[in-house]
Symmetry: C3
Subunit: 354 residues, 3 copies
């Protein structure tokens, strides 16, 4: 069986994830060897909200594999404006392309799309829900700049509450052995409890710090994210706190020589420019590893040229997801799909409890 | 002599149309055989109004022939904004490309463009006037899903008065032998009289129905189009009538097993989603046939690599077209071109009588 | 040593400029010979302000060399909107591409970008400051339509005060022997004094005319530019003067048979359409020579595939450029770079004196 879609990184079996990380490394060693791997294939980038960086990374990856590109990135210019459903749009564009890359503000949009396409779907971000290729990028970067995915002390500094890339990275890394996570943020912006529980359930360790400076000396990895001003309790709180979670060259003096600093980018001012020249800064290299990770993924996902058959799913429950950002709110024909957990029914599209 | 431009489908000689339909079928059987047919050639998509679906179909067609793409789809980002004439824009872009695909809100824009380019022009829609590649798509779909273009009973349901794709399909199909057209709409939205006359002059039959349900059992083909709410006589009329022209699985129960349902897409709610799984629904396959039809057209139109020489035309009459949506209203340097009919002079750009 | 970036045409050594002009001519003779020259290479077009014409010319050039394209042309859709610095954007995109083509409203943006990229940068226009590939286009056109770059009488008609393409052309052409420049404009819109001084310092001749008709008979080359209405002293002045600087077929009657008329395009009404058919009109051919010039430049700039190393520059002076359109106003991390002239310090980004 081969990889059909990439909606959520946890859908990958460990062997598939290992294969992609290994293959990304192979590509990075000899990218020109793979420049015909997707010859004659077309990627459609369906961007229902703009994200130039993500789009360019996917496009460069496909082009470096010898593939071709179509797509849109402005819903105002599409049939969507005329009231077309997601189903019809992806059904039609999957007649034109060999793989669809979907970005949407609606949670669960990529999963919903995958029910109706005749070609594989890659999730390039569905609202605040998932962004699996960013996590693939992060893992590839760690694997090749630190050299391992286990026995790591990983600092997570910034907005750990709302950061979708942080959540996904933590979930995935906690499956590797003996990792320790240092959560560096204000108490208001710490990691959600269910993710802390998942880390410890996986046998990894969670620690807390309210000071980047205090936490730095022990870290192997520092994953920085932006804190939006409006996430602080008050403007006064913002003014008082903002410097605490900014990384600059001075703070770095006390860090390990082998530290690697990652950031999903774009940054605003949470890392000062004087850090850029430090050999421990890995955030620009990270974008290059992102290219190789996406090349590996695209090659694997398109290597079987047989068109997939569209299947129709039936609703699993009578329930209705109440998350206002869930794709099912907007696309009423979608089957109602839920899975059961100890806490009750959870929507399969957006992972919100009912 | 070879095909230079495709402005209006009626410009094609019957043998050329037959050739393109045949060639589209050949491509559909073995698309990869043609993947180098337009190697080293460039298509410029000049979209003066957005139409992502049409643009992606053309782009995928060119890419699948091995060609390359440039273009714009936002007049606000072009030299047009700085006051440049259509003439200059197409003259310059025809220096960059091997074929221009033009979409414009102005009627006659593609014809006007074809006077000034050094490469062929394809009309991808000029206002409410013509959209020949949609009709080419429809004919290809009928040819390969029904198996013939004659001896058909074709239901046309929706807005037959304003639907440009309906008009073009009817004109072309009425040239084939023994076709019967059942016009299914409110009296206000029926086919214009001159088209009804053309059908009967061509020896085909016109019938009328105000109920989709009544008409369905006899149909070989049902061509559905959207009725915009504001086309109804009043909001009350809309509420009373809207369901009458909606196709759903229940109504389909009485239709022939060999019926094929077409729709130019995007649909809104004139076909319910429960029809999608019915084997008689051909509207998604139609978009794939559209790809093959455009591949066939592009290959034929670009196969002679000698650049065409621009010719200057003189006005044929002193008259001025009064249609406010005619390209001559906006581009004053254009020669005034008219042809004579029994009803008087008709503008060659927009086909409006003076 | 090979060509790394093209920021300003004066950065090119005479031998490099000669090589590119010669190579552009070679390409024009046999374009298909070069269609694999940039195979497997990617150009990123980073357009911080829209310029469809320039973008399409670069894109067609890259495609005709066998290369591929990524990019953006709407800053609203980019990470820029989220507050990302130019440095970060170009650093990241240079991981995806083999050459960056940058267009920006900020003067000095392309130079600033070139400090942080891992691949060459081409300036496609930085505000009102420089547009070197337009001048390369103009020189190529003269070289192959007039046959020489020296011993020319060159009329410059229109807005010689503000026209960036006029300034650049004059500076470059005045380095060739025995050229005479006839400045045709109102006194208010004449060429800045420092450029007149540069022409005479280079041993060329400057003359003045307030009438296109008077100047025409002696010209070998007429370079037309648009005068924006608001550049005139008053609306009355505009009405009185506008026709004086318009070229039409009647005025051309007295011009030399070997005259060549250039225009950077788009034109509005400063050249009437009846001139288009005159064999002396070279402005459409000019866009084709622009394609060959850009092909030559791109081939030369990308032929060494070794990635360049990013260098960090230190500020040369404590001064701060005060030009409100200078890139240093917006990107505060940039080193302060100045060069010394007789008139004092001059900003290396925007060439404004402090």
């Amino acid at each position: 069986m081969h990889l059909r879609d990439l909606i959520d990184l946890v859908d990958l079996r460990p062997s598939e994830l290992t294969d992609i990380l290994r293959f990304a490394g192979e590509i990075s060693q000899n990218p020109s060897y793979y420049r015909g791997s997707c010859q004659h294939k077309i990627m459609a980038t369906l961007f229902y909200e703009p994200s130039t960086r993500t789009k360019m990374s996917f496009q460069a990856a496909m082009l470096r594999l010898g593939g071709k590109l179509i797509g849109f990135d402005d819903p105002g210019n599409t049939s969507v404006k005329k009231g077309e459903s997601l189903k019809d749009t992806v059904r039609v564009t999957s007649n034109y392309a060999d793989v669809l890359v979907i970005r949407s503000p609606w949670e669960g949009a990529a999963l919903a799309a995958s029910f109706y396409t005749r070609c594989p779907v890659i999730n390039a971000g569905d609202g605040g829900h998932l962004h699996p290729t960013q996590t693939l990028t992060d893992l590839t970067t760690l694997n090749y700049t630190v050299g391992r995915l286990e026995n790591l002390t990983v600092g997570l500094c910034g907005d750990n509450k709302n950061g979708r890339t942080v959540h996904s990275l933590v979930r995935t890394l906690s499956r590797y052995k003996n990792n320790r996570f240092v959560l560096i943020s204000t108490p208001q912006l710490t990691l959600p409890q269910y993710l802390q529980d998942e880390i410890t359930a996986n046998g990894c360790i969670v620690e807390f710090s309210e000071s980047l400076e205090d936490a730095l000396p022990t870290l192997d990895v520092l994953y920085m994210t932006r804190i939006q001003k409006e996430r602080f309790a008050s403007p006064e709180e913002y003014e008082r706190q903002k410097g605490v979670f900014v990384l600059d060259a001075a703070k770095l003096a006390i860090a390990k020589p082998g530290l690697r600093i990652l950031h999903p980018l774009p940054r605003v001012d949470e890392i000062t420019v004087d850090v850029d020249e430090d050999s421990r800064a890995a955030y620009f290299a990270q974008t290059e590893y992102g290219l190789y990770a996406r090349m590996a993924l695209i090659q694997r996902i398109t290597e079987h040229s047989d068109r997939c058959v569209t299947k129709t799913l039936a609703s699993t429950h009578d329930a209705q997801c109440l998350n206002p950002r869930c794709i099912t709110q907007n696309e009423v024909y979608l089957p109602h799909l839920f899975y059961e957990t100890a806490a009750g029914l959870v929507c399969r599209y957006c992972d919100h409890g009912v």
